[in-house]
Amino acid sequence: MYALIALGYTMVYGIVRLINFAHGDVFMVGAFLAFYAIEKFRLPLPAVLAVAVGGCALLAIVIERVAYKPLRNAPRIAALITAIGVSLFLEYFTALHQVFGPNFYAFPRPFEVVSREIGGITVTNIQGIILLATFGCLGALQYVVHRTNLGRGMRAVSYDFVTAGLMGVNVNAVISFTFGLGAALAGVGGVLYGIAYPQINTFMGVMPGLKAFTAAVLGGIGSIPGAVIGALIMGQSETLTTAYLSSTYRDGIAFILLIAVLLFRPTGILGKARTEKV
């Protein structure tokens, strides 16, 4: 779950070194698009997924063009503040009555929940689908980044975007594509979230977004397998804290873990150490 959102953060950060705070809200928009697709138009599940993914990708590309591109050469903090601004805008704009409205909505279940026992552990089919979808997306992402031309462009831009531009990589297209791809994953995440926790509102993206980002940092930001590992650790620590301590301490434990990891490995579990140059 967190893994899908974390992947989007880590990709955008790897390419443009920007903490895209609006990512959690793109995730929220994905869940709402899926909600409308099911509730109003009664689309089948694959079409719902396509609507959410396409809508998110489009939204992210528009955000990138309008808000981040003009600031690419400005101080990084300006882009960061803009990202916070975009995030607030998405939350409150969609909370208007004319858009999605400020209430909680019940997300309709597109299929029945079946739980069965495998080796003493109760597994629902939703959990199975989430796991499959996460690893499917991870595999697809690894393929795109390491085996295709666009992926090569992404890696080049991440390394040095000026030089990549000189070598004939279309930097703008690559950055737009990265935002779109990251948002598409957030869209999948939004649909899955709606199915797993069937209650959505326009502020639902904040906490998952923050945790996913933490997961990305924990795993080593910019690293795709790192994001998944970080997300798994975050998810586990939260579940275990809820089970053995108290749910009120849940958020705290995850972040204590984060700080502890950062102290020993300042660039995350799978992050590369950068040597400082003068």
């Binding site: 903490i19 600031l71 101080p75 803009t82 975009v86 805008f89 700080i259």
Partner: protein, 329 residues
């Protein structure tokens, strides 16, 4: 003689602000609501000046400012509740003295905590420091939420009540003027130059013989002390504390103020603090009730537009004359 003259100079703006406000309220030209907003703006300005020291001058990316603000608020409120709550008379002189003491205690508590947090985390660089401080902010929020399990007076997730209203216009004006004077003198001292050199180039600074780690901790601690004092003022302004007032969104608010005003620019921070609070509250009054939700749609749009048009902040590098160093005046 020189010191006396300087104290007089610092007291002048204090007198002007406090006297002016008192006069206006006395003549009923200002209603209490606006006076309260003015006080809030001063409190936020003190806190933002602190973050400006941390991020604007020393270049340490901190997303946990609201946590220190909260520590100051809870410390000051708890002390006042324990030792002064029984009097119940705000005008009583010992109560005012105790208020000064608990504000100072709030600042000291925030500074001590900042030192504790800073010693390990300030070895991290740029964005990782931001995440670590953000994480610290979330941890503190969890602690505030569960605070009633070890100190029932703190209220935990239900919020802390029964705080005496002590914050008044003279108090906020005094704290703001003191904060401005201290920040200005710090920035233009040799300490301040060391902090700025760390922001510009840490490696070069350490080559010049500056103990960069020590100065980073120093800058961080000083900035957080400002936040602690501001927190104490806040607690006794609204007389109610809730953990959600100190979550990471509030850290973002302060960060936005500092960046909007211009990093490392005190005039910008002051103007942005007042502008931010008055815009936030002014829109509440100016907009008709059915459009009140539009407030948080317009603010981000303004924010994005400002950043796109002036990425270096509203003021850039220009300062008000009273904030420049002697040499540049």
């Amino acid at each position: 003689m020189g010191t006396l003259k300087n104290i007089g100079k610092a007291l002048l703006p204090f007198g002007v602000i406090a006297g002016g406000m008192a006069l206006l309220t006395g003549r009923e030209l200002l209603n209490p609501y606006w006076v309260q907003i003015f006080q809030l703006a001063c409190v936020v300005a003190v806190s933002a000046l602190g973050l400006n020291l941390i991020y604007g001058f020393t270049g340490l990316f901190s997303l946990g400012h609201a946590a220190f603000y909260g520590v100051g608020a809870y410390t000051a409120a708890l002390l006042m509740k324990l030792y002064v709550g029984a009097y119940g008379d705000e005008a009583f002189l010992p109560a005012q003295a105790a208020f000064l003491g608990s504000l100072a205690a709030g600042g000291i508590a925030a500074a001590l905590l900042a030192c504790l947090v800073g010693l390990p985390t300030l070895r991290l660089t740029s964005d990782y420091l931001g995440i670590a401080t953000l994480g610290f902010g979330v941890i503190m929020k969890v602690i505030f939420d569960n605070a009633d399990s070890f100190l029932p007076q703190l209220g935990g997730a239900r919020g802390m009540t029964g705080i005496v209203k002590m914050t008044s216009v003279p108090w906020v004006a005094l704290c703001l003027v003191a904060a401005v004077v201290i920040a200005r003198n710090l920035v233009h001292s040799s300490y301040g130059r060391a902090l700025i050199s760390i922001r510009e180039d840490e490696i070069a600074a350490s080559t010049m013989g500056i103990d960069t780690f020590r100065y980073k901790v120093l800058g961080f601690t000083a900035g957080c002390a400002f936040a602690g004092v501001a927190g104490g003022l806040y607690a006794h302004l609204y007389t109610f504390l809730h953990p959600s007032n100190f979550d990471f969104f509030k850290s973002f608010d302060v960060l936005m103020i500092v960046v909007l005003g211009g990093l490392g620019n005190m005039s910008g921070t002051l103007v942005a603090s007042f502008g931010w609070i008055f815009l936030l509250e002014g829109l509440r009054v100016a907009l008709p009730p059915e459009y009140i939700e539009l407030r948080w749609v317009m603010i981000p749009v303004l924010l994005i537009a400002t950043m796109l048009l002036r990425p270096q902040g509203l003021f850039g590098f220009r300062e008000f004359p009273f904030l420049r160093s002697r040499g540049d005046r």
